[in-house]
């Protein structure tokens, strides 16, 4: 993490002395695993605030609460994915946020697959583009962003569309659009697939 480099020696000593730097680690379940395949101990992700609803020993780890009728207990379920690597709303969360990034194909071919791109764009758990944009064949179009039907006729270069999807903030600093590539939401290949899909829309 960046901030370590600017800590004075005094602060490092205070943190060490107060024990804040130590992380509680769950013991490895040696009794359940063969010695050669012993799983590493579940670790609380570095920098994730302790207020996070998170079980490091779970599969998807991120948790959500569900009330049970006529009960004073709260049931906790696992979310569809682990959300811990991204910034939370807790102000104690000091982890870095990637700044707007200018990207380019650098003259190389896009190598994106339009069919895969459609699966990413029209999937709430992945790109979720349809939440804000109207896409062909969707019965519940989003209207928060401009419609993308007939996108091909806009005549943008692959390079420009790659930038839009990878990090729209570099084009419009006030955008609401997620910086899919810069923030690690979609992989570089997934971004390329979405670009190929968009560039195929008549």
């Amino acid at each position: 993490m960046q901030k370590r480099y600017v800590l004075g020696a005094g602060m490092v000593a205070v943190i060490a002395a107060s024990g804040c730097a130590t992380q509680t680690q769950a013991p490895a379940k040696v009794s359940e695993a063969k010695p050669a395949e012993a799983k590493p101990a579940a670790v609380w992700p570095e920098g994730l605030p302790k207020t996070a609803l998170y079980n490091p020993e779970g599969k998807n780890k991120t948790l959500w609460p569900q009330p049970v009728k006529n009960s004073g207990e709260l049931k906790y379920n696992e979310h569809a994915r682990d959300l811990s690597k991204w910034l939370t709303r807790d102000p104690a969360d000091m982890r870095p946020l990637p700044k707007p990034m200018t990207v380019s194909l650098n003259g190389q071919p896009l190598n994106g697959d339009a069919a895969r791109g459609k699966e990413i764009a029209m999937n709430t758990g992945r790109g979720n583009c349809w939440a804000c944009h109207a896409l062909p064949g969707d019965a519940q179009p989003g209207s928060s962003g401009p419609p993308l039907i007939g996108f091909k006729s806009r005549g943008y270069s692959d390079d420009m569309v790659y930038q839009f999807v990878y990090d729209r903030r570099a084009v419009n600093p006030n955008t609401v659009m997620p910086p899919f590539g810069a923030i690690g939401n979609l992989s570089d290949q997934e971004v390329r697939d979405v670009v190929a899909y968009l560039q195929s829309l008549n």
Binding site: Q2, K3, V6, L7, G8, A9, G10, M11, A13, V14, A17, L48, P49, T51, A52, L53, Y54, T62, L63, W64, P65, Q66, P67, V68, K69, N70, S71, G72, E73, L74, H79, L83, S84, W86, L87, T88, R89, D90, P91, M94, R95, P96, L97, K99, T124, N128, A131, C132, Q140, P141, G142, S143, S144, R169, V176, P178, P179, I183, G184, N185
Partner: protein
């Protein structure tokens, strides 16, 4: 944590380097549009929808694409007299309350020493001397129930049921939380920053949808303004869930791709204070129901 001589010495040593720590370690952050006007009240609704809720005669007038402006999703009474799961929860809350308050100490713990619940809901969120921080009603219910020997976890059905029961005695009374000074002001400011902070895998703030995209389609839903919202919690959801505000915030976070925080956490309480202040002037109305 006991302060030892060693720690004091190191703290002094560290203080010298504190300025550079503050200046250099402030991480890069992004915010969405902040529509909050001071002092906060439902009259300051940036989407100008309050005139429609305020004048009940306007309710049937808007339809179609503008229907979201009514914030009608909560089905305020007495205009909607349909019975729903929230009423069932009220009955449960009444039964639990009567058991918990058999000797009057539960009500006193909540802040009604004479057992009169009228207006009690409007005192929350409040700064609590026993917690040494700002807390919401559900957190206090959990605390006071534990003192009475019962487990009513913050966010659980039973806790929300008691919250609905207690809050119903303030129905029709306008919210009027003072965030101009003290711990409530600090909590309001933190809540305001948290509401506008971009976070999660989609880099979205609460305000991204509820200020920047309000009134637009987010697939099949239309995000509504946050003004007037706080007067309706806990609410009964159409998916048959009695939902408290903090539980709802975990759902909002998940929908936006943000790691949810603990029920009763300071951040969620701060957002609760922020939302409550933005509903200053709106009459409390529970049990409510929404989609």
């Amino acid at each position: 944590m006991k302060t030892t001589h060693k720690t004091i010495g190191l703290a002094v040593f560290a203080a010298a380097g504190y300025a550079s720590l503050v200046l250099a370690a402030e991480p890069y952050r992004e915010s969405a549009s902040d529509a909050t006007a001071m002092p906060p009240s439902v009259e300051k609704d940036h989407t100008n929808t309050y005139p429609y809720w305020k004048d009940r005669a306007n309710l049937p007038a808007l339809g179609g694409k503008d229907e979201w402006k009514l914030n009608w999703k909560f089905r305020d009474r007495p205009l909607n007299d349909q019975l729903h799961g929230g009423d069932e929860a009220w009955d449960r809350g009444e039964a639990l309350y009567k058991t918990l308050n058999a000797n009057g100490s539960f009500a006193a713990c909540l802040g009604a020493p004479d057992g009169n619940l009228k207006g009690l809901r409007l005192k929350y969120p409040m700064y609590s001397d026993s917690f040494r921080q700002v807390v919401g009603l559900e957190a206090m219910i959990e605390h006071c129930a534990a003192k009475a020997g019962a487990k009513l976890m913050n966010g659980s059905y039973d806790n929300s049921a008691v919250s609905v029961y207690v809050a119903s005695f303030s129905n029709g009374m306008p919210i009027h939380i003072d965030v101009s000074q003290g711990p409530l002001k600090e909590s309001f400011e933190r809540g305001r920053r948290a509401f506008n902070l971009k976070a999660g895998r989609n880099n979205l703030a609460c305000a991204s949808c509820h200020v920047d995209m309000v009134g637009n389609n987010l697939r099949g839903q239309t995000p509504t303004t946050m003004y007037g919202d706080a007067a309706h919690w806990p609410t009964w959801r159409g998916k048959d869930e009695l939902q408290s505000l903090h539980v709802r915030l975990t759902e909002c976070d998940r929908n936006a791709g943000v790691q949810p925080l603990k029920i009763g956490s300071q951040t969620y309480t701060d957002i609760e204070v922020y939302l409550t202040a933005l509903s200053n002037g709106y009459p409390y109305m529970v049990p409510s129901m929404r989609d």
